[in-house]
Symmetry: C2
């Protein structure tokens, strides 16, 4: 039976709303108080399956130090065939009708831990971070606000999956609090900038994909095999200081406005698990240049949601609901474009989608768009208003593919904003 078969069941009880049924099996890095060595785990229901423990029990065909190297990179570098074989073996071991793990209480105690006991770490050592700008709705909204509504899209946008190099060092795992950044702000009333804490702190709802199979310098990745280079996907919050960005970004792009932190979810959902949720992406007019023309559906149907929790209330304020399938440029196109110049990739490269905005105002993936650059404040459940993020606010993003009676989920990426440092 195929690892994606909707009828597959695990001996671990998994509710239909869980993000982690046996059809998912995302990879992450975790540690526990009892064993503080960060190691590779797979999420199943409310549990983490410890792959290092499984290997110690001779159930996996990969050296156990690979699972204890502190990130997924060494495991992923073993290649495609190994990721798939490992996922297949885990799927077998977790099946309701397989006694090997199910009926071995000592091994279960060793290898299955409640997720609430696990501390999650950054899943991969991020080699490079590239961020794209692939939502037509987002690019249009930004163009309307800051340029000309009649010519909102720049001339290159419909031809190039526009991207830029982000800062890899400051990519952090979900749950990491970040201080409000400081920097240069140009206030409308003055010719000169001032220095201080960001006043227009924003999130950007994105997904990211992680490179599993690199290409060499000088060797472009063909669009028809681009998906084979991708290990899996995460949720990504591309925190953005809008006022810093507005002042600094000409002519070389965003820098300090983004480099203070980028948050990703802890579990990497494999492309194998996402395969049943492939869909066509929006029609592209004009037709892209041949190196960007796709033979297959490269969109994915992933429901996405952003909520905000203030410091003073436990209420979850829904800010946005949208779907990844609306993205104009696909991951395969992004990767083909990234490498067409000869640029090499590395295991652990993270590539962000760019802000994912839908066509309706409740589907916009940033406060910049939701409040139209602060002109339309949002009223929260507790009666307070928001134009941008305030100190103590926590932003939570979640996403999942809805199957028939099950979900292939990403968990969440969450992050709290602390006051600027002294």
């Amino acid at each position: 039976m195929h690892t994606n078969d909707p009828s597959l069941k695990s001996f671990i009880a998994v509710s239909p709303e869980s993000h982690f049924p046996i059809q998912n099996l995302p990879f992450g890095i975790f540690s526990t108080v009892a064993d503080p060595v960060p190691r590779v785990g797979v999420a199943i229901g409310d549990f983490v399956l410890d792959l290092a423990a499984l290997e110690d029990a001779d159930l996996l065909d990969v050296p156990s130090e690979i699972f204890r190297s502190g990130s997924l990179n060494a495991f992923v570098a073993l290649g495609h065939a190994t990721w798939r074989a490992t996922r297949d073996t885990i799927s077998q071991l977790l099946r309701h009708d397989n006694p090997v793990l199910r009926d071995n209480p000592a091994l279960r105690a060793e290898a299955l831990l409640p997720q609430e006991q696990a501390t999650m770490h950054l899943p991969m050592q991020i080699a490079g971070y590239t961020d794209f700008y692939s939502s037509k709705e987002h690019a249009t909204n930004v163009g309307c606000m800051f340029r000309d509504p009649a010519n909102a899209l720049l001339p290159n946008w419909l031809h190039i999956p526009i991207g830029y190099n982000g800062r890899a060092s400051s990519v952090v795992v979900s749950g990491t609090a970040l201080h409000r950044p400081k920097g240069q702000l140009k206030l409308p009333e003055s010719d000169n900038p001032v220095f201080g804490p960001c006043r227009k702190l924003d999130f950007e709802l994105e997904t990211g994909f992680l490179i599993g199979q690199p290409n060499a310098l000088g060797e472009a990745i063909d669009i028809n095999v681009a998906d084979q280079h991708i290990f899996g996907m995460v949720l990504l919050n591309d925190w953005s200081a809008r006022d810093l960005q507005q002042w600094e970004y000409v002519p070389l792009g965003p820098f300090n406005s983004k480099s203070f932190g980028t948050s990703i979810s802890a579990w990497v959902v494999t492309m194998e698990a996402l395969e049943p949720f492939r869909v066509a992406s929006p029609e592209q007019q004009p037709a892209p240049l041949p190196y960007l023309q796709q033979q297959t559906d490269n969109g994915y149907d992933i429901a996405l949601e952003v909520t905000l929790k203030t410091a003073d209330s436990s209420a979850e304020n829904i800010l946005c609901k949208t779907n990844f399938k609306a993205m104009y440029w696909t991951m395969a196109q992004q990767l083909a474009h990234h490498t067409v110049s000869g640029c090499n990739t590395q295991v652990g490269d993270l590539m962000g989608s760019g802000t994912i905005s839908g066509s309706t105002p409740d589907a916009y993936g940033s406060l910049l768009e939701l409040t139209w650059n602060g002109q339309k404040p949002i009223t929260l459940v507790d009666g307070t208003q928001r134009t941008f993020i305030q100190d103590g606010d926590e932003i939570n993003m979640t996403g999942w593919c809805q199957g028939d009676g099950y979900r292939i989920g990403f968990g969440c990426v969450t992050g709290k904003i602390l006051p600027a440092k002294g």
Copy 2:
């Protein structure tokens, strides 16, 4: 006697024009046919001193596996005190009046190799690559060509040491040939882009500095201690595809036009060796914001030169002579600005200066400026002309600080352009 004392002499003969007298002692990674393990070496005259061999002989106080780990990162991560102590010890061992190495023929045979027998490797594993834009002359030239000569500098330029994230994966060591990149070009006669090999391939003369002491996420580096975070400097050629850049760069900055390759010199010249060549940098008007105000001279007097050799001639065509001391923004200011938002750095981060252009047309650091975007072709010694780089051309950059009877040199960064791949 101080390691920088001009009167210091080595038992190794070093000519006054050599880049590598005993006052320099730059670090690099080399291997030989006889011993293909890449290891840490120090340049002295025409020789490489093998630090792994010195440690094997118990002459250095650092574990020898550190010197055989394939890059300088592990050694540099040991910290400031260790770099300096190691340099001090090497300086002692190489002195004309120290018999330890001088009078030990077996050790000399083991530890001193002619540079011509060494294959040089990338000196550090590049963690992140940031490129600045800190020459006022260069920014002005670009502004004159592509915007308005009357307002050549953008409003933010005199306030911010403008920088952007480059692509770290494609940083290569001097001597690495690169294929002409391909990408999207927008020709003036058409509304739509075409795909093909770059037609306006350029170099950018830069230096780069390498981070030795990192800062944590959220902790800005104070400008007054910024130089302590820098391990050393290299020469850098920021290859640029001008036609790709022109079409892609709005609004997120250069991407494919730069990511196909960036070349750096093989020897890292330490900040200790450069110390005697500190000079004041140009006066800054308006005064920068307080976090960018410097208490010390942070400029460096480094003579720079670019030559071109065609495939059909051995003649060296001098394209440009300039000096690093003309740079408006200093490395200390760049690093303080980079981290003021809370962005962390890592051992092995490379930070490029941006194109170094002087005030006269023979001091411009790119063909874009030297030929004024192709309008003023350069005639070479062999009678051929150049507007941009042709296939088979080799670009060579060199640089040195001129002392009294000696030079603290960088060697060179050289790279040949091969035809675009089929």
